[in-house]
Symmetry: C2
Subunit: 343 residues, 2 copies
């Protein structure tokens, strides 16, 4: 049982073969097709491996065998619980397929995203799932073109150059506002931004559709645009909302995600505005903290785990099925009503 200094060369199959008094091919068989080798030999080899502290060199394995045993998910922001839930779904599917999942965090930076993608490509991972900073970026096409299966998660692309898995944001927006219409609201705020995000736009679109369908005048649906979808921005939006003269002030807010909704809720509570009596709030994503908020939040739930799981299945299909065709899967969101909207 040697203690190897970090960096020291580790035992190779050749060393193991020598120590066990067998050929190199036999050691490999013990590793890959243990049934083909006699029990005694197998045992002898395994003992040698343990004695030498043998660790199979994955680079060499992969180089020769050609296939890697890992899947990767490049997350937009690991600090957002939504994405960690998605990753749990991916992990489940990966595990079922016998693959390991590695996560990379681009932390909202296109450069980091790019450098992760490059390395993963060079590592010849089985496939890459990515929630990109910018779904239209040509860098994604490059990766796919060079032969690595790519699936876009929780975003869509105008063209259909790869598989994607997302949730119907227009419908989600509609559900949220229909819920508020049902409760008799006549003045509603949509809180979210920045405007260039597809999701922000789609959810607003749905909100407007529902509003119009209910026969409400367009101008009674106010858009409070934020510069990011964060808790801090939600609080800030609360202040802006409070600044609107009471006569015209919306009595309900539909927020583009739960972080914003939580910020808004916090502002309301700390400034004495009762929720939902004076202000109803609908969030989006239904992250765990939504249900656990001081006033449990009504929210539009996305099937987060399923999102991840499906994405993983698509990428695996692309990696192994020669007749694979790209698909754009669109899931249906669901409204979860809680105290923040029930009087």
């Amino acid at each position: 049982m040697p203690h190897r200094e970090p960096g020291a060369r580790s035992a190779s199959v050749k060393d193991v073969a020598a120590a066990a008094g067998v050929s190199l091919g036999t050691v490999s068989n013990v590793l890959n097709r243990p049934d083909r080798v006699s029990p005694e030999t197998r045992e002898k080899v395994q003992r040698a491996m343990a004695d030498l502290g043998f660790v199979r060199n994955e680079s060499a394995r992969q180089l020769r065998a050609g296939s890697s045993r890992t899947l990767a998910y490049v997350m937009l922001d690991a600090a957002n619980p939504f994405f960690t839930d998605v990753s749990a779904g991916i992990d489940t599917a990966a595990e079922a397929a016998g693959l390991s999942l590695v996560l990379c965090n681009s932390r909202n930076s296109a450069e980091r995203e790019q450098s992760h993608l490059t390395l993963l490509e060079q590592q010849r991972v089985q496939g890459v799932l990515v929630t990109p900073v910018d779904p239209e970026s040509p860098a994604l096409d490059e990766v796919a073109r060079r032969g690595t299966p790519v699936v876009v998660v929780d975003r869509t692309r105008s063209d259909q150059s790869f598989c994607s898995v997302a949730v119907d944001d227009v419908l989600g927006g509609r559900l949220a506002v229909e819920h508020l219409v049902d409760r008799g609201h006549t003045r509603v705020a949509y809180v979210g931004g920045p405007a260039h995000l597809g999701q922000v736009r789609d959810r607003l679109q749905g909100a407007r559709d529902a509003w119009a369908a209910a026969g409400r005048p367009a101008e009674s649906l106010t858009w409070i645009e934020t510069s990011a979808l964060t808790v801090a921005e939600g609080r800030e939006a609360g202040a802006r909302l409070a600044g609107i003269p009471a006569r015209r002030r919306p009595a309900a807010a539909f927020c583009a995600n739960d972080l914003v909704a939580l910020g808004l809720l916090q502002h309301a509570i700390s400034s004495g505005v009762r929720v939902p009596e004076e202000l109803s709030i609908v969030g989006y994503d239904d992250i765990e903290f939504a249900a656990a908020a001081a006033v449990p939040l009504t929210s539009v739930r996305q099937p987060r785990q399923l999102l991840g799981q499906t994405a993983a299945e698509l990428v695996l299909d692309e990696a192994s099925n020669p007749d694979h065709t790209h698909r754009q899967v669109l899931f249906t969101p669901e409204l979860v009503a809680r105290s923040s909207t029930q009087g």
Copy 2:
């Protein structure tokens, strides 16, 4: 610009060399020491690479060059914001050292942790940071013994067989309770569990120390033991707290982490208990959601990013410095007072 089918063999340096009309060594030089090759040749080679969609094979590179360019962090639970903050710190340090960070999520399972460790070892990553399910597990020693640098993050080990980075939990417990003592509390609850977690025990120890030092009788510090450190368990603990007869009921609670504290807070608010007037709450970790809670939470802050950054530096030192000696770094926590304890 070929579109390569997934799985199809990709262009190798040899193909590039042929296409560019140069030798194989020159292509390698373009890749690794661009300054050594004349501008015209370099350009020619680069064009060939682009045309063929060449992607360097990292396995082969690593096999030959012997060194990998990645660091790994095996997280206990990616869904806990505390750990994602730690990972951000690691990422910063890794980036500074020119390495990529990959994350693996063991999701509280020792088996998953083990299988990730094994794969990382086989990949010959530069080093592994890990917040283990069980810090005493011999599996960690095995990995280190076989030559992969290992640093334990946010946990400590009874022996000193590897580097570790943690925060002084006893001190943290003391700070929390001293704060409550300062505010005149005479009955306090410690909420957390399960008891076998080192952190749960250490924080309680600190709490008891401070309580005794203030001359309070031991029996006025109640331990409400939970079965996990989650929001749901916090709510549950709230119910148990409420069940204590008013005369003997603690008017302050020190929770073993913020998730528990948030659950407790939620229970208090929804059952009409005013915070902090009727119940003061102190959390632990100071995650982002603590400050953003309905009643902003007083919490014991751990230097999360610094924790990660330091761990990364230690593992890099171990990987590259022949005179490396193991170190146990212990950071000092800090109390952040907010509304949940100020009358």
